[in-house]
Symmetry: C2
Subunit: 670 residues, 2 copies
């Protein structure tokens, strides 16, 4: 190995272990084993410009094994990203850009928040999907605007997780040749040798998925790694997995090859021994030999040049294809094109029959799709039920990367993470759909979308016991509160078709986080907006939909399919001389974010006779009804029966609301 | 094919489609394709006794593709289980034993609640683990008390789900030869041909996992199926997958081989055509030809005989090994042996230093493990952190099925479902451990454990932002409310070591549902029970731990690691002349289940100055603090920094509690 390569690799290793030691917390072993593959990739292949981490045609590098973050921070610092050494010294400290696991949006050059295993692997599949769609749609002969690769380093843990199996199988089916993943095959996980739980033949498994599998090769053999990456890049219709046999904690005399190198600092003594063993020139922590520094920094000049070439390419593209270029640039900025929502105005004003909000959502989607090229998504094999097919937008497939309807297969977990990857890539607005109860299969990526502040629309239909006959396995109870409890996720549960329009509008206009739509299976009457309050109230989260009097005796709060029940109860109560106000509360998060005076207007603090109704757990509703109010809901599992029967039997009826209100009013009078 | 076989297979088909048609809801296509394999399995191999669905040595049959429930109900009825035809006619109706997807505990003979895809596949792996442990531990030469197989029919959807990949890889590693799964390979899923998302070579993938793969064979060829099952049973050190090529909706002239046969009734006309096409003798729906009926019912005599043989075996075992037999029978009943908890008394009475509740949990586990042979569990590759290793109980592995420490690998989703399968099998009490944030990877099996009322202990450590340096990807925020919102799940978040003892006691003594333990990473002072209320209060969910006065001005409610903060705040307030009561509330579910007068005693309705503190989302705490109280918590994502810094920065401190109380008291005074 050339001296400079060895020096640079050891620079990564030593910097990484120093970072962890300084923090007195972290994972030194993985960086020590991965350093050669990371070095070869970053030094010889990775197309990036440290001065512009957002350059659209850069290669993406995802450290799926996010616990090896100190290595990524080292690489970013060494190649000249805006990440000073002081930030590396602040690893895992409050307010630093170098948290324990890489977080998208903090250190420049971090392409995805990783740590929860398998997510990064699947994010990369999403990035490759976005890349391929944009390339197929926008590239022209001689104008390869999109010509980048998706690289990742993945670990044993990544490959054990089921999400990876899902994403890998789909990537193979879709022949995503731009994916080049390096597998850090070090045989060690936290409980010991991986053989205790993971004896499978990984290479054979990936071949079965349709991947090109290269190796196993010696993870310290830089030329072998070089050749493997070349081979991987050369095959254009298969994703590639390069199996690199490595040693966790490589170089550490007493901890190499053991779980002891995984999750805690090596200790100062062992670091000394390790540096001796590696023939490391530096005595002080955070030493960076000038030759290594100089070599790494060449990335800056290379990157500048490459991006300049690309800028020229884009300029000539702009000349030849001004319309495409304009659209493309808007999409890369994340703009919604002017007039994208014109079709939404009055979309359901002639809708007389009840319509399920999932069906209304399908109509909304198809109304805006022709104006919103960047919209791309699909379902985990439920599209006829989730109503998420965009007509005339084609199926995305290995035969046609220009299609916009995704078929994720029965793989909710990967679907979520792939949608996240699409959003991370940029240029597309992804949506992902399944039944609300199967949100349980994809909690982690929804959370990560929120943490990463990604514009992803999660469409969850069949949102209550209204699912009916499929029974409790398919009837969400605790999933709505689940959505609402995720920080930075906004959830809408629209009451009818008109609220569904506004919910979609809210989702698409939101740029700093994901949105979840909870939609009904069953038909719901369309609220007559000529008589009741306008649907624009949705954007304030909750609003007074109807009231018998401006000084009501009681407030009934409802969401989604139960708003109609609340309205009917309000009418009955009016007949009995009890003045009710009905509040539609499609989004708790938006309502809670309103100024106090608005919230007090909708829910006057002095009116404590409050009843909520929602076909889900009552837990959490006390926020609005308080200790003195009554929350009607479902606090046990549902049951298999026709939807209407289930609603009757579980007391999700106007009559029940009326009774509870009467109880409250009597109590207040006594 | 012998006439009787054909007739019986068509009986399954026709009964299944009639059931779906009568309900006007359900999935006719899968049963029509699967009928031959199900018939061969049930007719020639399945060891079961319809008169005693709980016979411990019966073979287990799991319909992982739970949507084909009408087929399972048909088989149960036909072979003589206590499931009358009237129940089949009540398919998917309120109160029936025949819900849309099979539910454990309703129809006799249903071994697992299935429907959410992949769960049944993984449940079976858990059953095989329990079987193998019990066999290895209890069987003696000539006394094969445990000698049964785990069969399942799995679908494309099952195999696309990541949980299946996780479970299959582990089953291969563990060489679970008792697993015989039939794969209904029909190429159709809801969105169309599986090729759109699922082109992988399934056989090769399973070979890579270490499975014996048999087929593909013609799913209508009963002799081929017969031979394949024989071959599968013959190989004892590999699980087997039999790939059966089938046609969804087989027999239906217009719907066979299409997604149209999947999820809705065929319709009366198509049923007529189908029955003609199959040469079906019956005109009326629900016709069962007497020859078929007679043939199916032979299962009763066979089963009776087999179980009688086994009873004899057990009796002679009892004579030769009375001690083992007694222990075994207790375990099969689910008893906790007398004196299992003697070591727990005063376990931490000499504990002076703070101790993390995860560490206390490890001590509890190791105190009871010697007395509780049935305890068996482990972690998703985090046992050094979750402290869930039982010393001297051995590692469960292919080399030693008698070990009790499981190594699930980095596979949370499968871990949960495997634990469920172990509980379903009986004879073991399983536990499964990971970090609380990774509950997100295993929400579905925790929910299903609750729905199935299984005794499973889910151990979730690192239960708050107290995780510290690992940062927001590893810091739970919304997971506690997530646990609490699952019906029939009981969650404990113990405040210290002494509450941890009671939490484990509560978990193990509970027989009708799962329990989750939320445990701290960081050390917590041990509450001095000689001065404060006894830890037995845990069993009431919430209790008064300390108070400055029996008529307090304010109530502070806390859980887990925040109880100590509340106590400190209480003392400070006392110094300021404000009398506080500190309530420890380790389990909301148990507290909510107490009689009103107890709850009113702990939280007197007239005291509305209430503050809660918990290092998680505040959502839900309004149940106890009401609209007028204050909930202190974390309503955004956490941050990477040392635990103490995070607590300080996020205001999880006694000082903050004091300030909020002062605000409340001032408000009350104004």
């Amino acid at each position: 190995m050339p001296k400079i390569d060895e020096l640079c690799i050891n620079t990564i290793r030593c910097l990484s272990i120093d970072i962890v030691q300084k923090a007195n917390s972290g994972h030194p072993g993985a960086p020590m084993g991965m350093a050669p593959m990371a070095y070869v990739l970053w030094d010889r292949f990775l197309k990036h410009n440290p001065a512009d981490p957002k350059w659209p045609d850069r290669d993406r590098f995802i450290l799926s094994a996010g616990h090896a973050s100190s290595m990524l921070y080292s690489l970013l610092h060494l190649t000249g990203y805006d990440l000073p050494l002081d930030e590396l010294k602040q690893f895992r400290q409050w307010g630093s850009k170098t948290p324990g696991h890489p977080e998208y949006g903090l250190a420049p050059g971090v392409e995805a928040t990783t740590g929860p295993l398998g997510q990064g692997f699947a994010n990369g599949v999403g990035m490759a999907i976005a890349q391929s769609m944009l390339a197929q749609h926008y590239n022209r002969p001689g104008h390869e605007i999109f010509d980048h690769f998706i690289y990742s380093i993945v670990s044993d843990g990544d490959l054990e997780e089921g999400i990876t199996a899902e994403a890998a199988s789909l990537a193979g089916t879709l022949q995503l040749g731009r994916i080049v993943y390096l597998y850090d095959d070090n045989d060690i996980s936290i409980e010991g040798h991986t053989d205790i739980a993971f004896k499978e033949d990984v290479g054979k498994r990936f071949e079965a998925y349709g991947w090109q599998v290269i190796g196993p090769l010696d993870g310290n053999d830089t030329e072998a790694i070089d050749g493997a990456i070349r081979k991987a890049r050369a095959v254009t219709d298969q994703p590639s997995l390069i199996i690199c046999r490595t040693v966790i904690g490589f170089g550490s005399p007493n901890k190499a090859g053991t779980a002891g190198a995984h999750g805690e600092p090596l200790g100062e003594d062992e670091i000394r021994l390790t540096k001796q063993n590696l023939g490391w020139p530096g005595e002080e922590p955070f030493t960076i030999p000038p030759e290594a520094s100089g070599h790494f920094r060449e990335a800056q000049e290379r990157g500048k040049q490459k991006q300049a070439d690309w800028d020229n390419k884009l300029q000539s593209y702009r000349k030849e294809y001004p319309q495409e270029a304009e659209q493309l640039e808007g999409e890369l900025r994340g703009d919604l094109p002017q007039g994208w929502d014109t079709g939404l105005e009055g979309l359901f004003s002639n809708q007389e029959k009840p319509i399920a909000t999932r069906a209304a959502s399908g109509q909304v989607l198809n109304t805006i799709a022709p104006y919103l090229h960047s919209l791309m998504g699909g379902s985990a094999d439920l599209s006829p039920s989730t109503k998420t097919i965009m007509k005339d937008r084609g199926d995305y497939s290995a035969e046609d990367y220009n299609g916009h309807n995704m078929h994720f297969g029965i793989r909710e977990h990967a679907m979520g993470a792939i949608a996240n990857g699409m959003a991370l890539h940029g240029g597309v607005i992804p949506y992902a759909a399944t039944f609300l109860v199967f949100y349980d299969y994809m909690r982690a990526p929804v959370r990560l979308a929120a943490l990463m502040k990604l514009r992803v629309v999660f469409v969850f239909t069949h949102d209550s016991v209204g699912v009916g006959e499929d029974g409790p396995t398919h009837q969400p109870i605790e999933q709505l509160i689940g959505l609402r409890s995720v920080p930075n996720l906004i959830t809408f549960r629209p009451a009818d078709a008109t609220e569904t329009v506004e919910a979609w509008r809210g989702a698409l206009e939101r740029e700093d986080g994901p949105t979840a739509l909870a939609l009904s299976r069953q038909g719901l009457p369309v609220i007559d907006r000529t008589k009741l309050a306008p649907a624009s109230g949705v954007h304030r989260g909750g609003y007074v939909l109807w009231e018998a009097s401006t000084s009501p005796d009681v407030i009934i709060i409802a969401t989604g399919s139960e708003v109609d029940i609340a309205l009917k109860a309000g009418e009955v109560l009016q007949g009995e001389g009890i003045a009710a106000r009905v509040v539609s509360m499609p989004s708790w998060e938006l309502f809670d974010a309103q100024p106090q005076d608005y919230r007090d207007q909708v829910l006057p603090p002095n009116i404590r006779a409050r009843v909520s109704i929602e076909a889900g757990t009552t837990l959490g509703w006390e926020r609005y009804v308080g200790i003195d109010g009554i929350a009607i809901g479902v606090t046990h599992f549902g049951a298999s029966a026709p939807s209407k029967v289930v609603y009757e039997k579980l007391g999700l009826t106007p009559q029940r609301v009326v009774e509870e209100v009467q109880k409250l009013v009597r109590k207040g009078n006594s």
